[in-house]
């Protein structure tokens, strides 16, 4: 039917013989009505199949929106997928809806997305990444809503920050592979010169090497998004330039798996001849003949923590500015055994 307006508070109110406001009070579970009235109203609500109108609710008084904007780099990554799943589920459970976008690691696209989001007057915003344009910052300020930056920890969060340090992830991995005796080390990355979080890991990794007085021997920065095949041909390119490496650190596990495939195709023994380290703890690594050396990222915990921090702030509970969600380095069998 879709008759104009479906049925609103007004209709329920008439049917129950009370006023609109009373119906509103009953539905929002406040007080100021008798049990008898509540029962009468609820009966009509069920009978008429009332569908609330959040548009109207959010439209009215400021701060009554239940919409949360979420922006991630891309949908086509198992990590971000799991993150979104967790964010979405947690926010839904807490009574919020999400409006999700992706920015492809381009800060300007994040700004464009935010501009669109702002016109829906959301209650809060969750952003993956710490690179924002000046326009984004302006807009966030003028929206005046809580902002949760996730994925990468920021030393000075805009508002709330939930995640871990990619720099430390890289640093820790460097120390680990150095301890196993690897010395001639290369890197294969993605997304070219952009300020991705992979770059933070790389910088941490370099710092770790520097502690031992070492440098990366060679690195290959692909322009592509991360993926299995980019890992494969990135490795090929890297080795064609510098064949004498004893370990390659990768942007993430998918690329590491692609790299492993190349190394195996070349007949290079892993880890005897060359070691491999990835990042992310992705499911694809579970079927490798060797356990992949990687850093596991608790995507589900991260999403849940971020959602709860945002809602906590919205409800007025005290919320930590920075929440660390710990990652776990898994040494695996693609680097040399512990001495």
């Amino acid at each position: 039917m879709a008759k104009r307006g479906g049925s609103g508070l007004e209709e329920i109110a008439r049917a129950a013989g009370v006023s609109k406001m009373t119906v509103s009070r009953v539905l929002r579970g406040g007080s100021g009505f008798s049990e008898e009235t509540r029962a009468k109203v609820m009966r009509e609500v069920d009978r008429l199949g009332y569908v609330p109108n959040r548009l109207a609710a959010a439209f009215g008084p400021a701060g009554s929106s239940t919409l949360v904007g979420v922006c991630v780099p891309r949908f086509t990554s198992s990590l971000f997928g799991a993150l979104l799943e967790s964010l979405n589920a947690t926010l839904a459970r807490l009574g919020y809806q999400t409006m999700i976008g992706s920015h492809g690691q381009i800060p300007e696209e994040e700004e464009t997305w935010l501009k669109g989001l702002a016109s829906w007057r959301p209650a809060g915003v969750i952003l993956a990444g710490r690179r924002h344009t000046a326009g984004t910052l302006d807009m966030l300020r003028s929206m005046g809503v809580p902002v949760v930056e996730i994925w990468d920890l920021t030393t000075s969060p805009l508002d709330i920050s939930v995640g871990f340090s990619h720099f430390d992830n890289g640093l820790e991995m460097a120390r680990c592979v150095l301890a196993r005796g690897h010395r001639r080390i290369g890197y294969v990355g993605a997304l070219g010169g952009r300020e991705t979080m992979g770059r933070q890991r790389l910088e941490g990794f370099r710092a770790g090497l520097a502690e031992a007085g070492l440098n990366l021997i060679a690195s290959e920065m692909l322009e592509d998004d991360s993926g299995f095949y980019p890992g494969f041909y990135g490795t090929e390119t890297l080795l064609s330039r510098e064949g004498n490496l004893d370990l390659i650190y990768y942007h993430d596990d998918e690329m590491a798996i692609g790299g492993l495939a190349f190394l195996r195709a070349r007949g290079l023994d892993v880890p005897g001849r060359i070691g491999v380290a990835g990042w992310g703890g992705m499911e694809a690594a579970s079927v490798l003949p060797q356990r992949l050396t990687t850093t596991k990222v608790p995507t589900a915990r991260l999403g849940k923590a971020a959602a709860e921090a945002l809602v906590g702030r919205l409800k007025g509970s005290p919320v930590q500015d920075v929440t660390v969600v710990p990652t776990q380095l898994v040494p695996g069998a693609t680097i040399r055994p512990d001495a």
Copy 2:
């Protein structure tokens, strides 16, 4: 500052010395104003940093929403990820925003999601899958908005349908592997007894075998979501029950890749001893030593076509009820060579 209301049409109107309605007309690019007025209004819009309020716009007259609901089975699949990317980008380009949810192949969860969506009065809905509860159907009807069912073609779409036939995908694959001489065939699937689209493919596959008077020798239906490791141990279980198979068809490529890993670990020659066929055309297969036999799904085209069909309907253009997005069977090297 985030002063109450930011700045609305009213404020622009006052600054430009015109009425609210004129500002609205200018911004919506209609007619009914002079060039001079337009310039004056636009100047103030820029100067005051006007942020439109879609809440108010969508809230008013019926059918003026620019919100589209999208529900997919899950985020953690490279195929659905790519689909969402494409849907989101296309809809954004056409001036629409998306509200995305996932249902985990559980029709009741789709209904729950839809109930939440309905309260935002969306202009349209895009659903992946054809299994809907009665409640979902009721709600869709009473919402009175266009519905696009994607991914699987339905013989009788609720409204608009964009996709391809999973049954035909399975059928085609069966014919292909039969033509290559495979006869003792097994299947490894996911998500147990649920009515997934993988099940449609399986039924098509069975039908193809039946054409040659054959049956599946064995099949293993896991309860898990699809994934690499489920493919690995599903294959182990299947072969432990029935070791004498010469081909396994998988729910999708991820599972097929997991299966290949198992077969290689066992030292079974592929395709000499046993063949492997997957589905989806997933990127992970790109680094296998052999090209995987699979069916490529054009996720980006599908998302674009679905978004355009929905917007076409919303704008009143004539739109086909059913749009077929063709898939492509890639024979690959994991089945026996062409005789």
